[in-house]
């Protein structure tokens, strides 16, 4: 017998002893103690008791309640955890082959059982164990710290949800392979080695997973299939564990993220779990579909088994069905269009300019592909060629996520460092701090001797918060806003509460696409109207509902066939989903297409196809009472103009500064005017006048190119830093 076999046997013996001890200390065992003594003295009674127990077991087995559970939910109070001898043999902190990542969110009891099972049953592979706590709080962290065995605790300050939590942990992993394991699982003997073995020897294999068993011992799934409507079919669900139909390895559409093994480098190259599916569900499906689209196989290996409770860490505030249904729609929408293009390889991190001043950019909002993020990251890219630049989001983010957003925007952030937490920010030692915010007062004081407050709009805020944050503004030497419209409101609001507010400058966002000449359509051919904007209600709503009503009227009157395209991201909140449904209902029977949650490239393709762009933000808004509900700048207007589309926007807010009515587009005040102006333009569509307006609009975009924005910010940074070696720049007039 080899040493490994001996150690394995010893571990099994230890586990059996622990189970026996648990039985002996159980209430039912102690309650039955007298009965056992009695049956020892009376043989007939013993036979009767045995028969009764056998009958009871048989009834239980065939009864409606199903087989007895193999696993019971873990108990809160229990003996302290112990690693066991196998862990001592196979745990490898410095150079592991596999990094097992267990994400914990308020489920320390489950995590403890899971971790103990890993220690007890993992052999044949050098592994490390990362317990990533997804912002569960100090009490939970204290419980995790009490685990007495080899593991690496990775506290994530806030709940970054399933995908991003795992992405952050995968970036911290040291192994060549990463194994994502739900904390509500218990692994079984020999679970890991076959999985690793398969990936080691088959380069064409992208991901593998074990058979998942339910707590009653029956099969939960041996891999999963994706049905055409996006629903999932768990292969072998409910089958007996020895059912021969489900014991062979098989290629599947995906293996569940509850237990999924990949090469770390491929996980990172594939972009990790996609934040599109936050908070949870379908990230694993999407990841495996991306692997399959890249020509890699995804396989379930039933010789490895993991017991799975299921859905124990899901927030009670979320309806699993709702979240799952929404993400199903997202997945289908994405893969209907043949899936996302494979991400380009992660750019190699480039060294920042040596010895140059340090600039720290702060964002209070989660990193996603929105307008504010585009501005801040464009700024980061522009400054990173001349300064040492770091980004400090309020919440922890993975580098994967930053790169994904940067790729969406076509930015190179390879010189930009991503920081987590204020301690890292202080250690960075910034000379200039640029903080973005949506209120009159910055959320935090400048962390550097010089500060710029980038205010998107001074949204109304709670008076107590306003008063608490008022001293922060004094630590900034300058305020930057997107448009004169915002500058007016900022100055007016600031003058009401602060004696001497910092000077306000306007540096408008850049149009990411270079302008191009408008494209003609054959006479009489259908015209494409495009409305770009996220589907959500409340402040800043893009009013797709009103646009649809306007389109229904316009279509009846138009001498040319029309097609309306609505493109934008969706929001998961019920009220926003209801708004999207309302829009779909309004579109019924009309030539309208919805393009939800599409990639930057797809959006660009729609912009390039658009003849007319409509911008509805601000429709129905009282501009004096609710200026915050107006478009603050209107980057989508610029993007439409850049593509040579004829743009129509509300005659208020930022767009009113971009469009010169009748020269570079049209401004309207209400739905009626939108319809009448659009109709007039369509009737004259093939005229030189319309083509002239489109051409002038395209030319006007040149004042908003990324180089212009970059030069303005570089000049401001040099000025703020008193930079003796300012970058060469040419600031347009």
């Amino acid at each position: 017998m080899s040493t490994e076999d001996f150690v394995a046997l010893q571990a099994r013996l230890e586990a059996a002893e622990a189970e026996l001890q648990a039985i002996r200390t159980s209430i039912s065992w102690r309650l039955a103690q007298r009965m056992r003594h009695l049956t020892l003295r009376v043989p007939g009674l013993r036979r009767t008791a045995r028969l009764s127990v056998a009958t009871f077991r048989w009834l239980k087995r065939i009864g409606p309640s199903g087989p007895a559970p193999l696993l019971r939910p873990p108990q809160a109070s229990r003996r302290p955890s112990r690693p066991g001898p196998l862990a001592a043999l196979w745990y490898e902190a410095a150079q592991p082959e596999v990094s097992i990542i267990v994400l914990n969110y308020r489920g320390a009891e489950y995590t403890r059982d899971c971790v103990e099972s890993i220690w007890r049953h993992t052999a044949g592979v050098r592994y490390e164990l990362i317990i990533a706590d997804n912002g569960s709080g100090e009490a939970e962290l204290a419980q995790l710290r009490r685990l007495r065995g080899p593991c690496r605790l990775l506290p994530i300050a806030t709940n970054r949800q399933f995908g991003e939590g795992n992405n952050i942990a995968a970036e911290a992993a040291r192994g060549s392979f990463v194994l994502f394991l739900n904390n509500d699982t218990v692994v079984t003997e020999g679970w890991l080695a076959p999985l690793v073995e398969a990936l080691r020897h088959e380069p064409g294999l992208g991901a593998v997973g074990p058979r998942l068993l339910r707590t009653d011992g029956r099969v939960q799934c041996t891999g999963c299939l994706l049905l055409p409507d996006g629903r999932i079919r768990e292969i072998g669900s409910g089958a007996a564990p020895d059912d021969q139909r489900f014991t062979a390895s098989r290629s599947v559409d995906y293996v569940a993220g509850a237990a999924l093994l990949m090469r770390r480098v491929e996980f990172l190259a594939a972009g990790g779990f996609d934040p599109l599916y936050e908070p949870a569900y379908y990230e694993d499906v999407d990841l495996c579909l991306r692997l399959r689209a890249a020509g890699l196989d995804v396989r379930c290996l039933p010789q490895a088994s993991v017991l799975h409770y299921g859905s124990v860490s899901q927030s009670k505030a979320l309806s699993v069905d709702d979240v799952s249904a929404r993400n199903r729609v997202k997945l289908v929408a994405r893969w209907r269009r043949r899936g996302p293009l494979p991400l380009p390889p992660l750019p190699l991190r480039q060294a920042p300019p040596e010895g140059r001043p340090r600039v720290l950019l702060h964002s209070p909002i989660p990193l996603q592909a929105g307008g504010g993020e585009r501005y801040l990251l464009t700024l980061a890219e522009a400054l990173s060629t001349h300064y040492q630049v770091a980004l400090l989001p309020d919440q922890p983010h993975s580098r994967l996520r930053l790169e994904r957003v940067a790729t969406t925007f076509g930015l190179d952030l390879s010189r930009v460092a991503l920081l987590t937490g204020e301690a890292e920010a202080v250690a960075f030692g910034p000379d200039l701090f640029i903080s973005m915010g949506n209120t009159l007062m910055p959320a935090r004081p400048s962390l550097a001797p010089r500060g710029v407050y980038l205010c998107q709009f001074p949204f109304p805020e709670d008076p107590l918060r306003l008063s608490a944050h008022m001293p922060h503004l004094a630590s900034y030497q300058c305020v930057v806003v997107y448009s004169d419209f915002v500058a007016r409101h900022f100055r007016a609001d600031a003058a009401a509460v602060v004696a001497l507010p910092p000077p306000v400058r306007v540096i408008s966002p850049a149009c990411p696409q270079p302008p191009r000449a408008p494209r003609g359509r054959p006479v009489g051919a259908p015209l494409h109207i495009l409305a770009v904007g996220r589907f959500f209600t409340g402040d800043h709503c893009k009013r797709q509902d009103t646009l649809l009503r306007a389109f229904a009227r316009l279509q009846r009157l138009s001498p040319r066939p029309l097609h309306l395209h609505l493109a934008g991201a969706t929001h998961p909140e019920p009220k926003n989903q209801a708004f999207l449904l309302q829009c779909r209902a309004l579109a019924r029977g009309l030539p309208v297409s919805f393009h939800t949650d599409i990639s930057g490239e797809e959006m660009q393709a729609h912009l390039a196809e658009a003849d007319i762009c409509w911008h509805g933000a601000g429709l129905g808004v009282d501009a004096h009472a609710e200026p915050s509900a107006l478009e603050h700048f209107g980057i989508a207007v610029l993007e439409g103009m850049a593509q040579g589309a004829l743009c129509f926007a509300m005659a208020a807010g930022g767009p009113a500064e971009i469009i010169r009515p009748g020269e570079t587009g049209y401004l309207f005040h209400d739905e009626d005017e939108l319809v009448s102006l659009s109709l007039a333009a369509i009737e004259a569509w093939d005229s030189t006048q319309i083509m002239g307006i489109r051409q002038a609009a395209s030319t006007a975009v040149e004042a908003h190119l990324p180089a212009v924005m970059a030069a303005r910010w570089q000049a401001l940074a040099a000025e703020m830093l008193g930079d003796v070696q300012p970058p060469a720049m040419a600031v347009p007039a």
């Binding site: 299939l225 994706l226 049905l227 055409p228 409507d229 996006g230 289908v332 919805f594």
Partner: protein, 256 residues
């Protein structure tokens, strides 16, 4: 008498020739009629190139399929064999062939089955053909049937159908339609399939228009399967006008 082995359940049957019709000739094992057997013949030929019975097909859950209100007689076996979803006009999973937007919640499938549905879809019927094309991946298989007739052009019963409702007048139902131009019209002598209800006949297809509709929607390799396979019970006596054979076709490249 005609002996046949049902190509759905595998049961052996013996029925008099007079018992056969497109909607008759029920299998004693599963209850399938001749049309159902023809649809499954089309599926087997389209997927495997051979006329195999459904009960003999290997499970292949990597093949995805979508049904359009398919009958349980073959929908249930299909769900066991393939990654197949049956859809319905009036309940989830929902699909309205008359609205191509309703194809959006579905991934393009390897095969789509649509039997005797398109005659009930609101005009324009080109939308129905286009929706079927959108349900399929390029090269995907359509197994299709619709009652069609050897006549020069399709007879649209309600050409200006826009906003309409069925209204009971006395013992009969009438269709009240408001045209796009706002005018109203009433239709009597409605034809319902399978009894009164949601299956209002919207048109009588000319066979030439069926083929033209499929081609215009981007289908290729369109093949009609004549009902001349008595050995599997896909057979019925020729009728003077009714064509209605099962058609298989491939989805062509994506349309611009």
């Amino acid at each position: 008498m005609i002996d046949f082995r049902c190509n759905i359940c595998g049961a052996q049957n013996q029925l008099p020739a007079a018992a056969f019709h497109r909607e008759a000739g029920q299998c004693t094992g599963c209850g399938a009629n001749a049309r159902f057997r023809g649809m499954m013949l089309g599926l087997s030929l389209g997927l495997y190139g051979t006329p195999r019975a459904l009960c003999d097909l290997p499970e292949d859950q990597r093949l995805s399929g979508i049904g359009c209100s398919d009958h349980d007689i073959y929908a249930k076996p299909l769900a066991r064999l393939f990654a197949y979803v049956n859809t319905f006009f009036d309940r989830a999973p929902r699909l309205d062939l008359g609205d191509r937007q309703s194809a959006q919640p579905y991934l393009p499938a390897d095969f789509v089955i649509c039997s005797d549905v398109l005659e009930h879809v609101a005009p324009p019927v080109s939308e129905g053909f286009a929706t079927l094309r959108q349900m399929l991946r390029p090269g995907g298989l359509l197994v299709f049937s619709v009652p069609s007739y050897d006549m020069p052009t399709t007879l649209e019963h309600f050409p200006d159908y826009h906003e309409a409702a069925l209204v009971r007048l006395g013992e009969h139902q009438v269709l009240v339609n408001q045209r796009r131009d706002g005018g109203a019209e009433i239709f009597k002598d409605l034809v319902f399939h399978g009894g009164e209800g949601a299956t209002l006949e919207m048109r009588r297809f000319a066979q030439v228009d069926v083929l033209a509709g499929l081609q215009a929607a981007g289908f290729e390799d369109i093949v009609g399967l004549a009902p001349d396979r008595p050995e599997i019970g896909y057979w019925w006596p020729a009728e003077q006008l009714l064509c209605a054979e099962v058609i298989i076709a491939r989805a062509g490249p994506p349309l611009g």
